[in-house]
Symmetry: C2
Subunit: 404 residues, 2 copies
Amino acid sequence: VSKCAQICTSCAKVTPFALKGKCECGGTLLVHYDLERVRHTMTREALSTRPTTMWRYHELLPVMDLRSVISLGEGWTPLIRVPSLEKRYNLKEILIKREEQNPTGSFKSRGFSVAVSLLAERNIQKAAVPSNGNAASALAAYAAHAGIDATVIVPQDCPEYIVRECVHYGASTYIIDGMIHDAGNIIDDGTEEQGWFNVGTMREPGRAEGKKTMGLELAEQLGWSTPDVIIYPTGGGSGIVGLWKAFKELKELGLISGEMPRLVSVQEEGCHPIVTAVRTNQPVQEAEPSDEVSPTGMRVPYPPDGQLIARMIQETGGTAVAVTKQEIEAAQLEMGGYGISASPEGAATLAGLHKVAADSWLRSTDRVVLFNTSHAMKYVDWAKPFPNVPLVRSYKDVNGSVKK
Amino acid sequence: VSKCAQICTSCAKVTPFALKGKCECGGTLLVHYDLERVRHTMTREALSTRPTTMWRYHELLPVMDLRSVISLGEGWTPLIRVPSLEKRYNLKEILIKREEQNPTGSFKSRGFSVAVSLLAERNIQKAAVPSNGNAASALAAYAAHAGIDATVIVPQDCPEYIVRECVHYGASTYIIDGMIHDAGNIIDDGTEEQGWFNVGTMREPGRAEGKKTMGLELAEQLGWSTPDVIIYPTGGGSGIVGLWKAFKELKELGLISGEMPRLVSVQEEGCHPIVTAVRTNQPVQEAEPSDEVSPTGMRVPYPPDGQLIARMIQETGGTAVAVTKQEIEAAQLEMGGYGISASPEGAATLAGLHKVAADSWLRSTDRVVLFNTSHAMKYVDWAKPFPNVPLVRSYKDVNGSVKK
């Protein structure tokens, strides 16, 4: 008996589960579970005694044999309240989901735990991924743990630490003078000769399903309720797909009820195809990224299925906002002031909060969740001057440097 | 009614709980709980439904009013098996406790969550710490979240990222040309004038009690049993104190039974006062660190109460080993090969495993836990040449670079 099938979001055709992301018609395939069956075992009570990794939701993950699971301790990340922000915007609750506490320092651990488990289950020995950085290092780590060869290609302006991280985990690591889709083209060109399995965004079902656990665990951590608003940084968009799917499945299972959370997508000024599509209600167009746009996970000029992402956001009553590099930098420092290490993408959600709050888009009854997708430290720009840290010899020097 | 008192490890005098680390006699004070009272509420059943942070053990933490707790999502870190190591050494189980998944990327989050909560509970507004790095950034983060001013002093060879991190969280950050105790002297000199509360190692009870939760949760995660061996990197030594105390308290509470885990302390060649004391059975002497010894958390030439640490290790039937810088570097790469980002201190526990295994000190029935105390990324040496990562233009370049 198969655990799940796939359904096309375009032609609605149902096909047996396979490691593919696209229907013959070109539509995106989503994994479809027999929720009537899941309902019997994945109860609130059963869940309450399970281990605190994302694999507690194994009925809603497409790995058949749990002995194939490649786990490094992903998921069940903390959710932190920020009372000063709640007060400032007169909101019911503002929570930060600390995805940087995942094994590879980013939310990408989730998707690759599932994707690499699916490869391991099928004895696939070589995987490759085009990435802006964190997906590459996540593949590198999970593939290393599974004994699978990993090849990763990232833009040459990828944060240096992340490139080092890929090498550290033993991946064959390449850089290109171009964007993530250029890296994807190179992998496509070499796939046959190298025998790579391409685990790029929406190329296979594991990554989106893994990200889905962010939504599943958010609902459980909130006592089986949903937040009103989720602000999420968007690149390829499979995070949005995962979140949307999580709440849909939980509703069908009867584990939550009520409205879907309004999904808010954040991208950076200079490369924001999803924001444009959502705000203008037009089909997603390939963006021409400006030279100034930062090399973060949000810089994806042409997401594999932007249409689907935009539709999901609109369906929830959500919105999309572009924030500037300067707003992101200020938000990173603001996050630091709350004691939180936020990547540019994670900080962008705070900048997005400021924006939607200024637009009076939020309601005072809203419970808002920001996703801090990665650690600040992975993005340190070593070209920037080192901060002014006084070298002291005695207390006199310290006292002398204190601002009076 | 007071929740706890303090007891001197030297003269055994019991005094009311206070934010101090030393008895009048000079002995180290440990926190003492009324375990008969704790036994009634901190049951296995009650724990099974509590939130997955270290504050689930609040009965065994000295904060009186839980509304004072400053929490950023610390504790309940994953425990990962490494089957290839188990096979290699023919051991029952080898597990890595992934402390780098704490909020500040290191185990130091635990101690500072408690220490800063104790300050917040008393409305203390200024804290200072001498540190080798990770304690400084943890104080910086938790103090920021609590709205407390933090001052940190670290050696000038402290990893650059960690210095940046302290600044990012808003701490007044200073570097010195010296060791951690030199930084401590400067803080002592300025304490009165600046009104600092010194949260240095063993200066107050919060940090050791916070680290204790590593042991509490290890026992719970292992289904209320103990590992046979714990390998732990040692600097100031409060981690050893915390682990020792955790298992003692759990035994008294009847939550675990049997032998104490054998505690194995690891330090680096060139600065290993605890190792010398344990192996020669002599009192702890101040070490003269060699110029080559790495600027890690283990480089503490004169731990505040080394005697106590050595005694605890010996009492459990444990041991202590010094590993070389080269062995640590090799172990970091080996950890990378398992998909794990390990700091030098965390990797030192793997190097220590190799050493005690080579000495036939382990038994095939042993379940061994290594503590990976921090992320590799916090220690990247930017002076080291960037790894050789080919810039590719097309698949031809990738194929050309593949080792045949």
